[in-house]
């Protein structure tokens, strides 16, 4: 398949062109309440040709290789219509053509769909029946085996198999008209076993949903807040990670000034990393979707802005090294600058020490999601506890945190020593592309004066 892509590209009339084509085999099962609501299977193919001429980009999407020459021509003509300056594509070394077959420790393709449905049914039963007060449940399993072929006029060429398994558990509990929910799950790129043996997690999800119906809402206002590993990882991703994506910066002079490398972003203990090459994480691949090898990139090092995430174009235009962060979600999506596996490096404190220093505050745990609009961010905790006189107090619900990135990073005054990388279902969204598989992680961190919305 890679040969036919390269052959079609040989007729491209552009400064740069690439083609990516994928085939997905996917199966999904979803329980909602006592019955299975969805059993689906899909085999879908799709791809995109991109071309760059005189700095302008053109693209043509398709779902079959039958007319690839047409799509190469179309992308090149689109680019020619746009470009008026000079194409800038990073002149980074190109790896030799390669193939990366999936090395699954336990391959989900060999397991009957009926077994997968039975697995989900068993979890669903626990969600529904293990704790009184659960009104209904969500339990889902999905798998996709994507085969991606890529070629570019720079000579990059790879074939990669990208398997993924997601297991999702949710419980909804109610007390009168109050409805509370709790979600959790696991995801893996290399084994079906990640979806197995989660009976304890299912029970915990059910227990927490019911407990939240008894908990008061978190009081609104400004609180010193300790974030657990998962929520702090979402914070690293949402609050800072998106700001380090160079496509938000490279053509915006004010943003380039604001995000100048070397700027002090936080205290000297603060280190934030993106690493698309770390083993076993959701955002890990040998190459990004422009054929650039992935790598570890320090975004903040010792409190100073140390790097950012690039595509071939943003790296060239900013005169910085390529990082392998051009990623696409759907088969026909054009790659955007995206995170891979983003985390805060561990510090020296213990979690107990972080909490012990707080007279009145909030311990916010788990993440329902997050969003950023550059300097402002918001994210929601799944649940939390009051902190009173250095000790954990009552469970609270409805914790939505917000803040200004620059002030908040400086307000981190404690980083624990317990880094955890989270591999959960779902993913990141940007520019209409979601969910992109990513991992995030962090030790517990403490932040002063966080604004929490509440009633």
């Amino acid at each position: 398949m890679r040969d036919s892509l390269a052959d079609a590209l040989s007729r491209a009339k552009a400064d740069y062109a690439e083609v990516r084509f994928s085939i997905d085999d996917a199966t999904s099962v979803m329980y909602r309440g006592p019955e299975p609501e969805q059993v689906r299977s899909a085999r879908l193919s799709g791809g995109v040709v991109r071309a760059c001429t005189r700095g302008g980009w053109g693209s043509s999407n398709f779902d079959s290789l039958d007319d690839l020459d047409h799509h190469v021509r179309e992308a090149c003509e689109c680019a020619a219509l746009v470009g008026t300056t000079t194409s800038q594509i990073a002149d980074a070394p190109v790896a030799p053509p390669s193939e990366h077959r999936a090395a699954l420790r336990r391959d989900f393709r060999g397991i009957p769909v009926a077994d997968k449905i039975a697995l989900v049914a068993a979890y669903n039963d626990i969600l529904l029946r293990s704790v009184p007060g659960v009104e209904t449940s969500f339990a889902g399993y999905s798998e996709v085996f994507r085969t991606v072929a890529f070629a570019s006029t720079r000579g990059a060429s790879f074939l990669e198999e990208r398997p993924r398994v997601d297991l999702f558990l949710g419980a909804i509990a109610r007390d009168g008209s109050l409805v509370q929910q709790c979600f959790d799950g696991r995801a893996s790129l290399d084994t079906y076993d990640a979806a197995v043996g989660l009976e304890g997690l299912a029970e915990e999800v059910a227990r927490r949903a019911v407990a939240l119906t008894k908990a008061p809402p978190c009081p609104g206002g400004t609180h010193t807040t300790v974030l657990d590993n998962r929520l702090a990882g979402v914070f690293a991703h949402e609050a800072f990670g998106h700001m380090s994506e160079a496509d938000f910066i490279y053509e915006n002079p004010q943003m380039r000034e604001l995000m100048a490398l070397g700027r002090e972003m936080g205290g000297p203990d603060l280190n934030i990393v993106d690493d698309g090459s770390m083993p076993g994480a959701q955002g890990t691949h040998p190459f990004d979707d422009e054929g650039t090898p992935t790598r570890k990139t320090y975004l903040i090092r010792n409190g100073l802005l140390a790097g950012r995430l690039h595509s071939l174009e943003t790296a060239a235009k900013m005169g910085e090294p390529v990082t392998g962060n051009a990623r696409a979600v759907r088969q026909s999506d054009r790659p955007l600058v995206r995170m891979t596996n983003t985390y805060i490096e561990p510090g020296a404190a213990t979690v107990q020490e972080l909490i012990a220093g707080i007279d009145k505050g909030i311990y916010a745990c788990d993440a329902l999601g997050g969003q950023t609009m550059m300097e402002e961010f918001t994210f929601s905790a799944g649940y939390g506890y009051r902190i009173e006189n250095g000790r954990l107090g009552d469970l609270v619900r409805d914790i939505v945190l917000t803040g200004n990135l620059f002030r908040t990073l400086h307000a981190i005054d404690g980083i624990a020593d317990d880094l955890v990388i989270t591999n959960g279902p779902g993913g990141c969204g940007k520019g209409g592309q979601a969910p992109l598989p990513v991992s995030h992680g962090s030790p517990h961190i403490r932040i002063r004066d966080v604004v929490i919305g509440g009633r």
């Binding site: 099962v29 909602r32 019955e35 299975p36 609501e37 969805q38 059993v39 299977s41 085999r43 879908l44 799709g46 302008g56 980009w57 053109g58 043509s60 999407n61 779902d63 079959s64 799509h71 689109c78 680019a79 219509l81 746009v82 769909v113 009926a114 449905i117 009104e135 209904t136 909804i172 008209s177 109050l178 609104g220 053509e251 915006n252 004010q254 943003m255 604001l258 026909s332 054009r334 999601g369 997050g370 969003q371 950023t372 609009m373 550059m374 402002e376 918001t378 994210f379 929601s380 619900r397 409805d398 939505v400 917000t402 200004n404 620059f406 004066d449 604004v451 919305g453 509440g454 009633r455």
Partner: protein
Amino acid sequence: MRRPMLDRMADAVQQAVQEATRLGAQAAKARFAQTESINCEFEAGVLKATSSEQGRALSLEVIRNGKRATVTCNDPGDIPALAARAVALVEIGASAHFSAYPEPSECAQILRHCPETASLPREQLIEAGQRMVEGIRAYSGDLYIGAEAGRSEAEAVIAHSSGLLHSATTTRWNLGGYAQKTDGTDMLFCGAGRQWRRLNHLFDADWVTRETLRDLRLAERTASAPTGLATILAPPEAAAMLFAPLAMACSGRSALKGESPLRDKLGDIIGPASLTITDQPHEDWAIESAVMDDCGVPTRPFTLVDRGVLRAFMYDVDTAAMAGVEPTGHAGCGPVRMHVQPGGRSSAQILRGLSEGLIVKNLMGFGQSNLMNGDIAGNVALGYRVENGEAVGRVKDTMVAANLYDLLKGGFEASSDVDPLTGWPWILLEGVSVSSGG
């Protein structure tokens, strides 16, 4: 369309249904859809990219022995293989509570395909984008400006084993522009966009410019947010978002599964007498409009809340069979084109009568709250403090939080003027909790 397929695929979807039935399915439904679109994007105030997009999908749903399964592909070349996969999968399928699709019945006629939209040339899209960029740039040369314009054409055909064969073609155009103003660490994002199926006066780049400039000017001043319990005024696009929990709660499936906080409130008062919420699926040229649901049940104008009283839940075919009621033409038990009915005063009059409050144009992180419970919470991504009937400045670092059903027990008002595309009015709600660090 570069390669129209409707005639050929009308045969193919019927063949898929027949083949699935021949293999033992009690009922089957096949749908094919194909879309082609072109788009242009402006970044940093210059044309950055143009694109052509094409996509196809063929799906087949089969029902057998109380089970249901769906298979999808985008290679319509091997119908027997697709049918065989579906029939094999249904043996271990999801629960189905019906064994036959409803007989076809007469549907409304809605205008959804505009030849002028389908042939909108790329050059005209680029010209519209350029006009948005230049209009916004006139405000300040220091803005980061983005814009996009596009058009698409789609064709779809559906057939099922109770005799339905229905095809449709649709078009749409979209226009959007935004500005980012960066001043030190302070950033402002504002913009506007719209989409419609007919190429008419609504395809107006100057409207995007005007809306964006209005926010840029309003945001020139900053103000502290009112804190504690405040009155908020939401323009149509934000109002639609704030009522999303109610759409979820009026799902017949959510009610049946016990998720909906309204599940036992049919006939109860859940809001003021001035609150009426309807689903209007037959507006010509509206993006959401539909003549039938995904099983061929005709859509119809539908009242969810009538003068404060909860009147109905929405049911698809499967859920209706579970609940022992008639399906209402709502695929997935969700609304087609829901909005609150307008009130008696204009949005300008409502604003003038507001001594203190907050205009909320955009909430960041809205979907992260417990929407099913009616909780609405988020960071005010773009909002203005109101004093003595006018917006006096942009608020920052501000969170709002409330429960929609609690709010509807307090002050509520809908404006008489509505957004011409969505039908939503401006909405005033009293008693929203506001927290601010700014």
